[in-house]
């Protein structure tokens, strides 16, 4: 069994199109939530909410005409984020194409390509553009990245709604840890903010008409977003061999299904997934001759990047799961949700939040919960509010990042500073 580390990161987010820019915004308290700008610049008067969190200044000048013709916004995010991660780690110079995996999460791809065509069909009985097929494949972004990076190893897309990115990173972690491959690009990409999609979410009555305020007593819903986050994972041995910058180590990955309801979460599911993650982290320690077990890991968790969507139900259920696992320690674990900065980019969120957790461990600074001045008194958590909080100056810092998806699909990752 191999130790697995993060040596490259790439992102496109509403508050920065590189990890450095993203981090600066998190540190300086800049949120990306703002009035939504539709593709046609024509605001939808029927939406009860006005805000989303969009990626701005998307620079496609480095993409080839073929890449632009055969993709849409969602896949273009993937290509650009993957390039950043691969370049930072020197991925393709140090790992054979066949020994590198690409595992990407994507909850919904191709909406910007498909939706205008559907409108034309029903409005004008028009023909449909042939490239709308490849452009709208859920796996389009994955294939685009494989072609762009000439990576020929295992490659597949995972679609588990809002946990897609965490499932992708966790699966890639297991593949590298087991020795199946020596490295992987893993993360997620999402660009779902089309007119029909926004109206459908409006009808779901879970989108905040004001501002995403995770864990606040008066929270009134999520803010929809878009974005991508992709990481380079590789073995510790290969990273050390070339003295690569290591942002964090991944220790464990746990997942579960609530088996309960298609939209309503239940605490049993994330509780089981957090426990599974800690057990998996203990497996890593045991197999790589490091001290520690599930109990000691549970006691050492020093930061949780929460799913924290700011719906009444999610935040209460997530807090209950944390309380169930950590017991008397739960109110003392620093926790934040970064969705007040970034909104909720569905599958993309869990990858971006894993990237943020790795950055937090690397900088030893814990991001705060933008939009929430104080934690809901009914939720006994040590919510980081107001400004970033310094983490321990020395020694390893252990963190979890939680993802709780619609349909009761839970994915938890455990990271450690390096």
């Amino acid at each position: 069994m191999q130790r697995v580390v993060i040596t490259g990161m790439g992102c496109l987010t509403p508050i920065g199109n590189t990890p450095d820019a993203l981090w600066r915004s998190l540190e300086s308290g800049i949120s990306g939530i703002a009035p939504h700008i539709p593709d046609d610049n024509n605001p939808d008067p029927l939406l009860k909410f006005k805000n989303t969190a969009q990626v701005h200044d998307l620079d496609l000048s480095s993409l080839s005409s073929t890449q632009i013709q055969t993709s849409e916004r969602c896949s273009q995010f993937a290509i650009l984020a993957a390039r950043q991660a691969a370049k930072q780690s020197g991925l393709t110079q140090h790992h054979a194409p066949a020994n590198t995996a690409i595992i990407l999460g994507c909850s919904t791809n191709g909406r910007h390509a498909e939706e205008p065509e559907i409108a034309r069909v029903y409005r004008d009985n028009a023909r449909v553009h042939p490239l709308s097929i490849p452009r709208s494949m859920a796996s389009n972004g994955l294939s685009q990245v494989a072609i762009d990076q000439n990576i020929t190893g295992p490659a597949f897309t995972i679609s588990t709604a809002c946990a897609s990115g965490a499932h992708a990173i966790g699966t890639a972690f297991h593949m590298v840890r087991s020795g199946m491959v020596s490295a992987a690009l893993a993360g997620a990409h999402e660009a779902p903010l089309t007119r029909t999609f926004l109206r459908a979410w409006d009808s779901m009555r879970v989108v905040s008409p004001t501002q995403c305020r995770p864990f606040s007593a008066d929270r009134d819903g999520m803010t929809l977003a878009e974005g991508a986050g992709i990481l380079t994972l590789e073995t510790l041995a290969s990273a050390k061999a070339r003295n690569a910058t290591i942002f964090a180590e991944i220790l464990g990955f746990g997942m579960s299904a609530d088996a309960h309801h298609i939209t309503q979460p239940r605490a049993d599911g994330p509780t089981q997934a957090i426990r599974a993650c800690l057990e998996d982290a203990a497996r890593t320690l045991h197999a790589t001759d490091q001290p520690g077990d599930t109990q000691s890991l549970t006691e050492q968790i020093a930061y949780i990047n929460a799913h924290g969507t700011a719906t009444q139900t999610n935040d209460a259920v997530e807090a209950a799961a944390i309380a169930s696992v950590f017991g008397h320690l739960a109110p003392h674990i620093p926790i934040s949700s970064t969705k007040g900065f970034l909104g909720h980019s569905l599958g993309g969120s869990s990858a971006i939040e894993t990237l943020i957790t790795a950055l937090a461990l690397h900088h030893r600074r814990l991001p705060f919960t933008y939009g929430t001045p104080t934690c809901d008194p009914a939720i006994p958590l040590d919510l980081i509010t107001g400004s970033p909080r310094p983490a321990a100056a020395e020694g390893p810092i252990l963190a979890l990042t939680n993802s709780l998806a619609f349909g009761g699909l839970n994915a938890i990752l455990c990271l450690r500073s390096f």
Binding site: S65, T66, I68, Q69, H129, L131, P134
Partner: protein, 87 residues
Amino acid sequence: MSDTPATAESITNTIIGFIAAQKTLDPNIITPASTFDELQMDSLDKINLSFEVEERFKISIPDNALDSLRTVGDVVAGVQRIQSENS
């Protein structure tokens, strides 16, 4: 859009415009003699071009005609032939 068959020159210019936009090329380097190989147009590019041409000129290009298209001029001639048959 007029029902009057377009001239060879206007068809050529239209098709060159499609290809230039599709492949991000300078239209001045594309001529009727330009081959799809030279323009690095693969089968998907040809399907894309066919769709644009069909929509613009309100014609239907038979599936089996695509394989025989080698140059920009072939497409222009094909459009003219179909327009002539339809008129």
